[in-house]
């Protein structure tokens, strides 16, 4: 059954579970240590793998001497390209749901080294410590080739990719003549930007525990944003049937994109388990968390032209990003710049440059997190040049349609974000001149920016099982990497069937559950939530039908629309004293359980006629130490328009967390590469700085009212990405306001401030 693109009344009725700040239903498990993550499924006889990483960035392995490792008692095997079992040759066998165009990386496939820290051997031993020790005894001789890891050099050979990855469209054709308009503009800015490589670094390191059963079947506990993706990959690569591979990943310790593709520890663990016929766990080390996909290094140029009154006359946005030698990773970066503001002359250009690194990988708001800040910093610079309030400049060029396509937005309450955010922040008190607000040695700056992210929906299936005692179990093979999927889905189901939250449980992270897409791009509520709604709507209709069929019952002949579902009862709207409990309805029909399954499919027809997106306005206050260049982000207000908010408590947490990501992106995060070695050097949590508690101060989140009956049947757009987009720009703009220095190279570390 396909869910209809309308929001039924029950979602809005008083007492609805949707929109309630429900505490996480899995909270108790998480605070007691009861939630089990991929490396926490212990089983008797579990063997442990430890990965050996390449010392060079490009070349080949000439020899790999494993004798000393194998000689240690308790070492079971060392897997290398020399002794690996037969593996598929065709690229398609190695593709996963998030693979871009090209050849996916194949661990242990041959002697070729494609990037530094590439996994080149797996030691399997009776204990973790022994495997680690044995790994140190492996002697590798390489022949190194020249490598290229310098984007500034590689960009000379940059090329224009096609539609090489799902979810991303190549930039639209130019409209007008942006270069000419820029040259003729009354006021213009032209800025170059760089964005450092960032690694996802979820707190849980990537791990896979593969339980080997005597019949040869596997239970795989993997750190993944999509259990089905993991299953498909394992089955394709190791030529196993779906029946013999079950993936169970009930909890994921953060991912932010790192779990969108199967990482090599999964390959390694399955390889070892199937070869040794034993249960095996492989867990990456923190340095090895820098050995796979990452937010790509990016170089950008944004040039804007405007009339004296602030009317934009030209927008040029060019971006070059790194990709690997083997795949075309794209995240397009520039498209939002054609969508944010009304402008007749726009040229967007996006290129890739090949480097000897691992293929980049989607990271929270891929593309937008990098491209939108560049535009928004340029807008701030333009406002400064015009002597205009940066907020006024945005309002001046506000658009109600997507200029890239000419389509109207399904909803866009960005004006409300501006208005409510500015009011909460006290923006009108801003003294607009740079360096005009200080406290002692601290320069105070206020900056703002706009955020945007696409609202997407995919197909998903959910199942539901209602017991005669009024307990409901709903399931779909999605993941919960932290946003609160368990909770949101429970709320949606409870709402539709009028059940108390405690009576409803939602299951996920298991390939035995119905199909769900990868959890990413802020589309889980939209996709899986719509499926949950669809299946619960069906149960609701069934219950109504059963009640209506009870000839001597009080609800005889009534339709679902005539009923309210509340507190486990079906209640006649016309007279609430006419009611039956779910238990009574089922008992009278001799039913112990009521089961169903439903698929939700995006309502393409109406979606196609609209631009779908979430929007935000971010206001930030910084204090910059005039002597030392240190920056404190003392205050952030993020006002978000994301349609219906299923759970304001967990949604707020997502925005808070994304603002923290924005702080990291603006000020701290950078994987520093040694160009001679082609290797990320600060590959640990000591030197790759993510924000700590002391870096984070007041963050205020506002969800503005936004009604949308086109985006999906729930009217909820998802909030996983929107919170980060624009935050780095708001901070960089605040730094400019504080110091008068325009800094366009992220992260803005103190040396850049001192030397600007």
């Amino acid at each position: 059954m396909i869910a209809k693109p309308t929001i039924p009344a029950p979602l809005d009725r008083p007492g609805s579970q949707i929109g309630k700040p429900v505490s996480r239903v899995d909270g108790r498990l998480k605070v007691t240590g009861g939630a089990k993550y991929a490396a926490e499924f212990n089983t008797p006889g579990l063997a442990h793998g430890y990965i050996v990483s390449s010392a060079i960035a490009r070349g080949r392995i000439l020899a790999i001497d494993t004798a000393k490792a194998l000689a240690l008692p308790g070492v079971l095997q060392v897997f290398t390209h020399e002794n690996r079992p037969s593996l598929p040759w065709f690229d398609r066998k190695w593709k996963d749901d998030d693979a871009p165009k090209g050849s996916p990386f194949r661990p242990l496939y041959d002697a070729t080294i494609h990037h530094a820290l590439q996994p080149i051997a797996l030691v399997v031993a009776e204990s973790f410590e022994l495997a680690r020790y044995a790994a140190r005894l492996i002697h590798v001789t390489y022949e190194a080739d020249e490598h290229q890891t310098d984007l500034r050099a590689a960009k000379a050979d940059a090329f224009t990719p096609g539609k090489d990855k799902g979810g991303f469209q190549p930039p639209p054709k130019p409209r007008g003549d942006a270069d000419r308009a820029l040259a003729e503009a009354e006021v213009s800015v032209d800025l170059n930007f760089s964005q450092a490589v960032e690694h996802h670094n979820p707190m849980e390191m990537h791990a896979s525990t593969v339980i080997y059963h005597t019949d040869g079947s596997l239970t795989v506990h993997d750190k993944t944003q999509g259990p089905i993706n993991t299953q498909t990959y394992v089955c394709n690569v190791f030529d196993l049937s779906k029946d013999s591979v079950r993936v169970i990943s009930p909890f994921v310790g953060g991912a932010f994109g790192s779990g969108l593709r199967p990482q090599h520890q999964l390959f390694m663990a399955v390889l070892a388990a199937t070869a040794l016929k034993r249960s095996v766990r492989v867990e990456l080390t923190r340095p090895q968390m820098f050995s796979f996909g990452h937010r790509p290094e990016t170089l950008q140029r944004v040039a804007l032209g405007a009339k004296r009154d602030g009317t934009l006359t030209a927008v040029i946005h060019e971006a070059v990003q790194e990709t690997s030698q083997t795949e075309n990773y794209v995240e397009v970066v520039v498209n939002w710049s054609g969508q944010q503001y009304k402008c007749d002359n726009v040229r967007l250009d996006y290129k890739l440059a090949r480097m000897d690194t691992h293929t980049p990988l989607d990271q929270r708001a891929p593309g937008a997190a990098i491209g939108v800040p560049a535009l928004e910093i340029a807008m701030d610079e333009l406002a400064a040049k015009l002597g205009m309030d940066p907020l006024e400049l945005r309002l001046k060029n506000y658009t109600e349609v997507d200029p890239n396509t000419g389509k109207p937005f399904s909803s866009k309450e960005l004006r409300a974000c501006f208005q409510q955010g500015a009011e909460r922040f006290g923006w009108h008190k801003r003294s607009h001149a740079p360096r005009s607000m200080r406290e002692g040695r601290q320069l105070v700056g206020w900056g703002m920016a706009t955020g945007v992210w696409d609202a997407m929906q995919g197909q998903a299936v959910a199942s539901a099982k209602l017991g005669i005692d009024g307990t409901l179990t709903v399931g779909s093979a999605t993941a919960d990497i932290g946003p609160g999927t368990y909770t949101a889905m429970t709320q949606i189901a409870a709402d539709i069937l009028g059940l108390p939250i405690e009576k409803v449980s939602f299951q996920l992270g298991d390939t035995n559950l119905p199909m769900a897409p990868l959890q990413g791009g802020s589309w889980t509520v939209s996709s899986v939530g719509s499926a949950v709604k669809a299946v619960c709507d069906r149960l609701r209709d069934k219950l109504a039908g059963l009640a209506a069929g009870l000839n001597d019952g009080p609800l005889k002949g009534l339709k679902a629309d005539d009923l309210t579902f509340a507190d486990g009862f079906l209640i006649a709207k016309s007279d609430p004293s006419w009611r039956l409990s779910i238990t009574e309805v089922m008992r009278a029909n001799d039913l112990l359980v009521l089961e169903d399954e439903a698929r939700s499919v995006p309502y393409y027809k109406s979606q196609m006629k609209h631009a779908l997106g979430t929007h935000s306005a971010i206001f930030a206050e910084v204090r910059v130490d005039e002597d030392l260049g240190t920056v404190q982000v003392t205050r952030v207000v993020s006002a978000v328009a994301a349609g219906r908010i299923i759970n304001p408590k967990t949604a707020r947490s997502q925005i808070l967390g994304a603002v923290v990501w924005g702080i990291g992106m603006a000020l701290e995060e950078e994987s520093m590469i040694d160009q001679r070695l082609g290797r990320f050097m600060n590959h640990d949590f000591g030197e790759y700085h993510i924000p700590v508690n002391a870096d984070v101060h007041d963050i205020d989140v506002i969800f503005v009212e936004e009604h949308d009956d086109i985006v999906n049947p729930l009217g909820a757009k998802g909030v996983g990405e929107i919170g980060i987009v624009g935050v780095p720009a708001a901070i960089a703009n605040a730094i400019h306001h504080a110091t008068g220095k325009r800094l366009c190279d992220l992260p803005i570390t103190l040396d850049k401030i001192l030397e600007a």
Binding site: D627, M672, D674, M681, G686, H689, P691, L750
Partner: protein, 336 residues
């Protein structure tokens, strides 16, 4: 982590017997003491240090903080960093030291790390930690990866062509400024090492961090009576607000007579292979009025031989500003 054996002696003498006869300095030793473990076990996991035997000294006592006869304070080598920082006497008489300790690491690590171990911390140079790269400190003769590599966090003073690593400790910067004395026990009995002589510059033997012999044990750190409680501070500049190593840190301590500086101590962290003291810079302050001009001049003297690498030249200007800021704060001079 390689295979090693473990022993937990119950006395200092037994512990010393465990390391007796080892040649060289403690950095190179095959048998190592472990107490807090916060740095050694980290480095063993990274395969940077490969002791064959660990002697657990964490239960030998040596964890008291006591007044000394000359009015100073003796910090037991095995007293935890947190207990030292929060000790009422340390806070009252050596607030700069307390502040320095609390600027380092995290609450958990300070609960584990001992005072003696803090002195023996090894550098956080990326190349030192990454066995896939060259490093003269880890593998003498392989070259210095940082010299022409990623060296944003590296030394600007006292470095050599062999090594540009910096000492990571905050506590040691304050101890250097305080002229602390390290008490050690060895086969020949006790000896004391002035703090300035404890750590060394890399020269062409960067694999040796300190002058502590392989058969010696730190038993205590003595603080002289002069704690500069009235006019001192510790300023740490880093890439995030907490839980990060110093890019530059300054321990500044003054003895004032009205607005005139009678005695000055200035030690820098994050800039050299050891906590950096410079008598000339301190002499520049002595007898001068406490003013921003005086402080700037002292900073210039201290940094006269500073040399930046490809990514860390900013540290020179940063150090100058940090010195001025710290001295101003110590002296109570309005900084505007």
């Amino acid at each position: 982590m390689r295979a090693f054996s473990y022993d937990r002696p119950d006395s200092v003498d037994a512990a010393l017997r465990g390391v007796a006869g080892q040649p060289g300095t403690t950095t190179e030793a095959a048998v190592k003491f472990v107490a807090g473990g916060t740095n050694l076990l980290d480095l063993m996991k990274a395969d940077v240090m490969r002791p064959e035997r660990l002697v657990d000294i964490s239960r030998l006592g040596l964890d008291r903080i006591e007044d000394t006869d000359d009015g100073g304070l003796r910090l037991g080598a095995l007293a935890r960093n947190a207990d030292t920082a929060y000790d009422a006497r340390v806070q009252a008489r050596y607030p700069m030291l307390s502040k320095a300790i609390l600027a380092g690491a995290s609450a958990q690590l300070r609960n584990m790390a001992t005072n003696g171990g803090n002195l023996l911390q090894r550098t956080r140079c990326y190349y030192f930690y990454d066995t896939g790269t060259p490093c003269n400190k880890r593998e003498p003769g392989t070259g210095c990866g940082a010299l022409t590599g990623v060296n944003r966090i590296h030394a600007i003073l006292g470095a050599s062509d062999s090594c540009i690593a910096v000492h990571p400790s905050d506590m040691c910067v304050a101890l250097a400024a305080l002229d602390a004395v390290v008490r050690v026990s060895g086969p020949k009995g006790e000896r004391t090492i002035p703090f300035a002589d404890f750590h060394r510059l890399p020269g062409d033997t960067p694999h040796i961090d300190s002058s502590l012999a392989a058969d010696e044990l730190i038993t205590a750190i003595d603080l002289p009576v002069q704690g500069f409680a009235d006019h001192s501070t510790y300023l740490k500049v880093r890439d995030r607000a907490s839980y990060a190593f110093a890019l530059v840190s300054v321990a500044a301590a003054l003895k004032m007579d009205g607005q005139t500086i009678r005695t000055a101590r200035l030690a820098l962290g994050g800039v050299a292979h050891k906590p950096w003291r410079d008598p000339a810079a301190e002499a520049e302050l002595t007898g001068k009025p406490a003013s921003l001009e005086t402080f700037r001049e002292a900073a210039r003297v201290l940094l006269r031989d500073a040399k930046g690498q490809s990514h860390n030249a900013f540290k020179i200007g940063l150090a100058e500003r940090a010195i001025v800021r710290a001295l101003a704060e110590a002296a109570g001079v309005e900084h505007s």
